[in-house]
């Protein structure tokens, strides 16, 4: 199985990864060979097998809905590249047309 350039570009965009021209080509080769290897699992008949998402079969973990102290706002924002008035400063999501 050989991935097309279009697929690589599409996946990189979904993952929000800016790739260089060189990386896109390398990724195409390496992902193709890894996917070929992992596709071996298609040999197995798993029609009647339930999926395992986590092994300890935990059920929902409940706690009382109590107001509790959280991290101070300053501590949360301390690592932020940009903040303003106690908020993260974000680039506009919706632009005016």
């Amino acid at each position: 199985m050989r991935l097309s350039r279009e697929i690589v570009d599409h996946v990189a965009m979904l993952a929000r990864l800016g790739l260089t021209e060189e990386e896109r080509e390398l990724m195409r080769e390496q992902l193709s060979s890894i996917l070929e290897h992992v596709s071996r699992i298609q040999e197995l008949d798993t029609e009647a097998i339930p999926p395992t998402a986590q092994v300890i079969t935990l059920q929902n973990v409940w706690r009382d809905d109590e107001v509790r102290p959280s991290l101070p706002v300053e501590a949360v924002l301390a690592n932020a590249p940009e903040s303003e008035d106690g908020f993260f400063r974000v680039h506009a999501v919706l632009e005016q047309s």
Binding site: R16, R40, T46, I56, V61, L71, E82, H91
Partner: protein, 489 residues
Amino acid sequence: MTSELIRLTVAQARVLLDQREVSAVELLEAHLAQIERLEPQLHAFITLTPDIARRQAEEADRRIARGEAAPLTGIPIGLKDNLCTVDAPTTAGSRILQGFLSPYDATVVARLREQGAVFLGKTNTDEFAMGSSTENSAYGPTRNPWDRERVPGGSSGGSAAAVAAGEAMLALGSDTGGSIRQPAGFCGIVGLKPTYGRVSRYGLIAFASSLDQIGPFGRTVEDVAVLLQVIAGYDPADSTSVPVPVPDYRAALTGDIRGLRIGIPAEYRVAGMDPAVEQVIDQALATLQELGAELVPVSLPHTEYALATYYIIAPSEASANLARYDGIKYGLSLPGETLLERYLRTRGEGFGPEVKRRIMLGTYALSAGYYDAYYVKAQKVRTLIKRDFDQAFERVDVIAAPTSPTVAFRLGERTADPLQMYLSDVFTIPANMAGLPAIAVPCGFAHGLPVSLQFMGRPFDEPTLLRVADAYERATPWHTEWPKLAVEA
């Protein structure tokens, strides 16, 4: 004196500290001297915190003087740099987290702090714990103390090398597909991956959440048991932490394994396995038999699919977990004209090649049209792998296998071929897929490098693993061997 102090086990150090024959400050200074001597050659740490360590050691001495010592009071420990700490940077080996200072401690770190342990610093790791050689660290590779041309294993290679070289008495690592056991094996020390849910993952920088587990490194099984005792147990801050009682792990070290049934899976002899490694493993199994254990052939037929399953599930979970690095809340942030451009630049330049590869793989496996064929299919194969183990454990108490098919490989040898690199974890991955506890112990040498034997156990049956590993250790000299580099004057 320095060389004597770094060669103590934790158990021996505890006695000397409590009897006031050695102070925590002296013990620390001996390790700092070893670090100063060897770090230029090994690079086991990303961040060293000698000033913090000195304050902690002084406090430990005061605590010991008051007669209030806990098992790890005054013991110098290395922490893998994907464990959050409030007083030192946490980078996860990535450029994208350069300079990040966590606002809270990981639960395991908090528990060690309560005990009065002494933190030497943050150990080197493959970026976001993705790798089998510690060559994927943005801060440069760690070298194996047994042979500096070789890798220490990964991704907890910094922790393993630090303990093997006498730079740290103990260390913590994390294991998603073998990242504690494989480097422990390559460096000739003991490493344990606990049962999934046994140790809180709160404050561990997430890689693949259904597989990750924090665990201890030490030079003896007893030392590993002591560290596990402190970090194990329920934590309400981690919803996958399991509320079952923590047994007394040291009490499990009886030295007696007569009548114990040890499963030997035929599937753990793969093509490409080094015959010299195989021979050492066979000798180790013969020793277990001499100690009175019964070797029982078992079958784990889906083992050959474990690697493929892992390289779908782990990258899928990683692609979701690493979506949080967006240049807005913390870490590297590169400017762009639009929000999208900012994401693309920050993530494109902040992540290294292996992390990008896995994010791409995971995003592909989870994308529309491929989700059922890859992700759901892999989750179903995971069920089959787990059932293999469930059936085997109806007949045996533990399963023994090699930790890795080869000894430590050379730096650069596998970096160009990701698939070849992934094969280093072929024997360790199944335990993560099934959530089982597993321990790696030194069992001899091939080509002058350490070989490691792995025991896998039933969920939460760490006591049996520790018992069999300890009995083997008592009967053999391997844990007393030191890399020449670490002990030469």
